[in-house]
Amino acid sequence: MVSLNSYLTLGAVLFSIGAVGVFTQRNALIIYMCIELMLNAVNLTIIAFSRYLNNLDGHVFVFMIMTVAAAEAAVGLAIIISLFRNKATVNVDDFNISKG
């Protein structure tokens, strides 16, 4: 049988992969995708706990997280488009205009 621990470990592995991607990638679009991956890993953890506790509230939380992720993706991609319009690049190393 699959235990709760296996799902939690899978969630931890995916979250760590996403966090490593945020640190190592320089492309703003791929960094956004890594953030989506981290949100997905958290969703998996919540669903696993929801199944373990036999409680449906976790599914509603995941629904809300998906809503926020969709809003975040729309606004974030709009920001990336307007940044690209100003500098013609999406490399995060080139965006240091708010550096003190």
Binding site: V2, L4, Y32, R51
Partner: protein, 170 residues
């Protein structure tokens, strides 16, 4: 059988996530992320979360990733070759080390009492659209309505951010 399916979906998700963070091409990363999300939808089905699995495929693998691909095609990014500066590499190594520390802490937290938590039986309607929908429209009605306001704010915000100014269009 269930164990086999879990290993299939789990390894698939991890491998495609690793493919995503090691490539430099945004389109390949997006397609790998679609694969990861589809494998995760399989995991949700194994956990009796049928509505969430369908939403995962429709909203994440469908809508959000199409938005990503649309922006990638729209921007037509030229990839920049060359090595990173020394300070950037040090930052990356420190970041990866911090994440691996976090991972070790997370995994050791699961094994605190050394017992293995097995899943119990659930009712037949667990995770169906009816059960989750009833909860959304009774217990969580206010958060549900606030979510609609959030989506409206996101629509207005992205239109304002991405629209071309009239004065600098010449």
């Amino acid at each position: 059988m269930q164990l086999l399916m879990f290993y299939f979906f789990g390894f698939g998700a991890v491998v495609s996530a690793l493919l995503m963070i090691t490539t430099k091409r945004p389109v390949r990363a997006a397609m790998s992320l679609v694969a990861t999300m589809s494998f995760l939808a399989g995991c949700y089905v194994l956990l009796h979360a049928h509505l969430i699995a369908a939403l995962q495929l429709i909203v994440y693998a469908g809508a959000i990733m199409v938005l990503f691909l649309f922006v990638i095609m729209l921007l037509n990014i030229q990839e920049k070759e060359g090595m990173l500066a020394g300070s950037a590499i040090i930052l990356q190594v420190v970041g990866v080390l911090l994440v691996s520390l976090l991972f070790v802490v997370m995994v050791s937290l699961f094994k605190v009492d050394g017992s293995v938590a097995l899943f119990g039986e659930v009712a037949a309607e667990f995770g169906t659209t009816k059960a989750v929908g009833e909860m959304l429209f009774t217990k969580y009605l206010l958060p549900f309505e606030i979510a609609s306001v959030l989506l409206l704010a996101a629509i207005v915000g992205s239109v304002i951010l991405a629209k071309r100014r009239i004065d600098d269009s010449e």
